[in-house]
Amino acid sequence: MARDLGILIIAVLVLAATCESAVLSPVSESHRSAALELFSPADGSYGSLEETYEALKTFKVLGIEKKHDIRTSSCASVADTLKSTSSALKDFVDALRVNSILKCELNSEAVRGTQSRFKDSLNGANSLIDFYYSIGGLVLLKEQMSEVDVNLGDADRIFRSIKALGQSDGRWRLSSNNPESSNNAAGIALEALAGVISLATPQIGNSLITTLKNDILKLFDGIERYDDGTYYFDEKHVGARGHQSPLSSSASVVRGIAAVAAATSETLNLPGEKILGLAKFFLGVGVPGSAQDLYHQIDALSYLENIRQVLWKLTFFRALYNKAHPDLKIYSSDLDFVAALVRVSTVLGSPAPTLSVRLMQIFVSGSKDASVIDQELKFDAVSGMHVLETLPKNIDVGSYVFSFEVIFHNPEHKKTYVSGGRTRVLVHITGVIKIDNAEIVILDGDRGSVETQKKLKLPGDNTVALSANHLQKLRLSFDLSTPFGNAFKPHQAFLKLRHENGIDHIFLVGNSGKKFEIILDFLGLVEKFFYLSGRYNIQLTVGDADMENSFLQPLGFVELDLPDAPEKATRPPPQAVDPYSRYGPKAEITHIFRAPEKRPAKELSLTFLGLILVPFFGFLAGLVQLGANLKSFPKSTVPSTFAILFHLGIAAVLALYALFWLKLDLFTTLKALGLLGMFLMFVGHKTLSHLASTSSKLKSV
C-alpha cells in the first residue's frame, strides 16, 4: 500500500463547513495585522474617545499587546472629558469605557460629578439613547469605582419605560415619537435593560426577566438567513443615524444579548444553529476594510464566545509528504505521506476543549453514495490538531466529501459550546496520473489501414510532422490511470487543431474505461475546417483538479490537403487583430511630385538661337548687297518729322512687344498698343501720303 502511494502525492485541500463554497477561517493573524493597520493613531492619539475605545477593545480581544503610547494622551483626554460639565452624555460613557480598559488614575471628585449627571439624565430620560447612555455610564461607574453609589431605587419603573419602547416583534423604537423600529435599537435596548437589571436594588422581578427573554427569542425569529446557514440581523429602514449595515446591527444585537446573559446569569436557550449562523456571518465578512467594521466584527465575536462558545472546525488536508513539507512534523509511520488534519477552535481562534473528531462518512463527490466509516482522528497535543492517519482503503484520486463530527468528552460542554453538528468537507485527493500508450496515427479512410504511426511521450516534447488528405483520418489515443491503476476521467481532455491563420478547432477526447481515443474523419470535417488546407498545429490539453500533472502540450502539426471550397461554402470567421499592431504608427507617405518636362541642354538652345539669327544677318547682308539706302527720306522738316515719328512709333510698338514679353500683362499692353496704334495711324498716314505724293509727282514728271 505504501509503495503504491509512492507516486501519489496526496495533496492538500479543502474544507468548509456545511456549505462547500464558503470557506471561513476563524480570527487569525490577518485580522491582527489588519487591526494594527486600521487602528493606527495619528500623532499618538485617536480622533475621538469612541474611536480610542474601539481600537483598544479590538486590540484587547485580539490579544495585541500594543505599546501603550496612546495611554498618556488618552487618559488625559478621559480626565478632561469627565471634568468638563459641557460634555455630552455619550462622551462621558466613551471616556469611562476607555478608562475601563486603560485603568487611568482618575480624580474621584470628577467621577462623582458624572454620577449625578447620569442619574439626572436617567430621571429625565425619554428616548432610548438617553436611557442607554445614562445606564451604560452608571454600569461602567459601578465596575470601576466600588465606592460610588449607583444603585437604582426605581429600577422597575425604568425597566418598564424602556420596555414600553419595544415592539411586538422583538425590535425596539429609538423614542416614543419615532414609529420606526430597528434591530439596532433592540440591541441598544437589551444592553440598557441588562444594565438596569445589574444596577437594580432590590432585584427586578422574575416576571419582567421572563418577558425580556421572550423578547429576545422573538427577535431571533426575525433573523435573516442565507442559504448556506448564515444568519444575520438586517436593517431595513434608514434612520436618522444613517444606514446601519447588517454588520453593525447584528453586532449590536449580539452585544445586547451578551449583556443580558451576563446580567441575569441565566441560560437564554438560544438556538445553537442561529448562534453558529451568526458566527458564520461575522466570519464571512472576512477581514473588513474599515476600522469600525472590524471593531463590530471582533467585538461581536468576543461576545458570541461569552454567550455560547462556537466551535469552528477548520479542516486541513495537508500534503504531508515529508520532503515537500519538512516543516510539518505529523505523519504516521506506516503511511508516509497522508494525513488529514482537522483543527478545531473557537471563532476567535482559541483552542477547543477536549473532544474527539470522528470521520463519519465519505461521499464520492457528485453522487449520493456514501461509505459509512466511523473513524476517530488521533489528537496531536503538540500541534493541537486532529490527525486522520490512514485513509480508508477504497479512496483513490478524486473528489470526496468527508463528513466529520465533533464529540465532546465532557458532556457538560454540550451546553456551553455550539459545534454545528456534522461538518461536510469537500476533499480533493490529488495524484500523478499515469499516461501510457500515447500515439497519433493517420488512417486510410476506406480500409482503415495505418498510414503513419507515431508514438508520443506524454507529457514531454513531441514534434510530429504528419500529412493527410480529406479521405484520411487522424486518430489520437492514450491511456490514463490513477496510481492505483483505476481508470481516471479528467475534466479537461481537449484536442485543439489550430490553422495557420489562427482559427481554432476544439475536440473533446472521449474515453471508454482507461482508454482515451479520438478519431478525426477529415471528410466529415472539411466544412467545419472551412476548406482551409495547410498546416494545423496540434495541441493536447489534459487537466483535472485532482490531477497533479495536468499539461498543455503541443504535439506537432498535420499538413492537411483539403479540396477547394465550393462557391457557397461559409467563410471563416474574422480573427481578432493583435491590439498592438492595430495601434502602431502608420508608414510615412511622401508625395511623389510630377517630374519636370525634359528640356534640352542650354548649349543646344543657344546653338539654335545662333542658327535662328543667321537669316536676319543674311537679310542685312542682302540689303547691303542690293545697295539699300535711305536716300528718299523726306528732307523737308514737316514730312521728316512725321517719318521719324512714324518709325519711332513702329519701334515703340516693337519695344512694347518686348516689354510684354518681359513684364507687362495683356491689358496694359493692349491699352498702350491702342494709343500707339492711333498715333501710328496718324503719323503713318501722313508719312505714307507724303511718300505717295512724292512718288506720283516723280511718275508724272
Binding site: V12, L13, V14, S30, A34, S245, G286, V287, P288, G289, G366, S399, L426, K489, H491, Q492, F494, K496, D504, I506, L508, Q539, G543, D544, S550, F551, L552, P573, P574, A576, P579, Y580, P585, K586, A587, I589, T590, H591, F593, R594, R599, K602, S605, L606, L609, L613, F616, F619, A628, N629, L630, K631, S632, F633, A643, A651, L654, Y657, D665, L691
Partner: protein, 437 residues
Amino acid sequence: MIKISLCLFLVSVPFFAIICSAFSEDRPTDRRVLVLLDDFAIKSSHSIFFKSLETRGFDLDFKLADDPKLALQRYGQYLYDAIVLFAPTIDRFGGSVDAASLLEFVDSGHDLILAADTSASDLIREIAVECGVDFDEDPTAMVIDHTNHAVSETEGHHTLIANDDFVNSEVILGSRKIEAPVLFKGIGHSINPSSSLVTKVLSASPAAYSANPKSKLSSPPTLIGSAISLVSVVQARNNARILISGSLTVFSDRFFRSGVQKAGSTTKHEKCGNEQFFVELSKWVFHERGHLKAVNVRHNKVGETDEPSMYRIKDDLEYSVEVYEWSGSSWEPYVAGDMQVQFYMMSPYVLKTLSSNEKGLYYTSFKIPDVYGVFQFKVEYQRLGYTALSLSKQIPVRPFRHNEYERFIPAALPYYGASFSMMSGFFVFTLVYLYTK
C-alpha cells in the same frame, strides 16, 4: 408664482454651477462616482478598493442597485461622472434606471466599472454585450485552469487562477511593473474580434477553459485558451471608459490582501497583484491617465508666421500642434515619438511623423503636393490606452497663377530669338522699303 420660480432659479443656479464644475474638458478626471451594490456588505468587504478611490478625491455615493430612489440625472443633467456597478446579481435597477439609461450614461462620455460574477444576471450580461463583451452564456460556467491556478488551501476546483498575462501598456496599468500574478475567480468573456474599442487587459492562459467545474463536459466549451478575457477595458470614441471584469471577488479586500503562489512555481508572493492591478486600472478608467488634449494647432508657410487662408501647390509649410496629457491634477506635456500628421484629400498625400521638443510641442514641415483641391491637416492619434486625438483642419490648395509659371525658359531661346529677329528685320525692312532710292 413668478416669485417662486425666481427663487427656484436662484437656488438652482449654484447647484448647476457645481455640476458644471465637476466634469469638464479642462479637468477630465471624474469627481462624483455612483457605486451600485447588491448588498451593503460589499462596501465593507471591498473597502480597500473604495478607500483608494476616496483617498484619490472621488466622491463615492453608495446605493443599493434596487434603491427605488435611484436616478442618474436630474433636470437633464447627470448627477454623476462615473458608475461603479458592483451588483452582479441585480435583475432590475431601482428608480428610473434601466440598461438603456445606463448605456446612455456611457454614451454621453461617462465611465463605468462593471463587475459580473458566476451568478451574473441577464441585465448585467446585456449591458456587457452592449459594451462589446460577451460573457459565457452558461450561467454555471467558471474559468478553470489546471496548470495556472493559484495554490490554495481552500479551493480545489482550480477556479482560483493566478494570472499574469497582462496587456502590455504602461498607460493602462501604470509604469510600475506588476510583479505578482493577479488572482481571479469568476467567469470569462470573449470580445468581439471586429471591435477595435475593446482591449483584453487580463487574458487567461492557453490551458484555461470556461466550464462548470462540477459537471462533466459533454461538448467542447465555447470559450477556451487565451481567447478568454478575464478583465477587459473599452475606450469609446467619445472618451468614455469602461472596465469589465468577470469577477467581483477580484476587487475584494480578501483578494487584495491575499498572497499568491502559482501552481508549479516555487516563488510565493507575499501579496498578489490584485490591488496594484485594479487600483491602477481604476486610475485609467477614471481618466487619471491617458487622457490627451491637443491645443494650438498652427500651420504657416516657411518664413512666415501668420496662418494663410490658402496655400499654393508646392509651397513649403510648417505645421505644429501641442499635446498634453492629464495627470489627474494638471496637464503635463505628452512626450511620444509617434505622432503623425496627414495632408489629406480623399486619401493621405503626405503622412509625416512629427518631431517633438519633448515639452509637448510637435512640429514638422513639408512641401505641399502638386495637386490642388481642398486638403485637410489631419492628426489621427489612436494609441492603446490613450484617448483618441482626432484633429482636422481644412485648407484649400490652388494651382499656379498664370504669371507664376517660369517665364524665361532657356529651351525657348530659339523661339524668342526668332520673334525678335523677325521684329528687328521688319523694322529694318520698313525703313529700307520706304526710303530706298
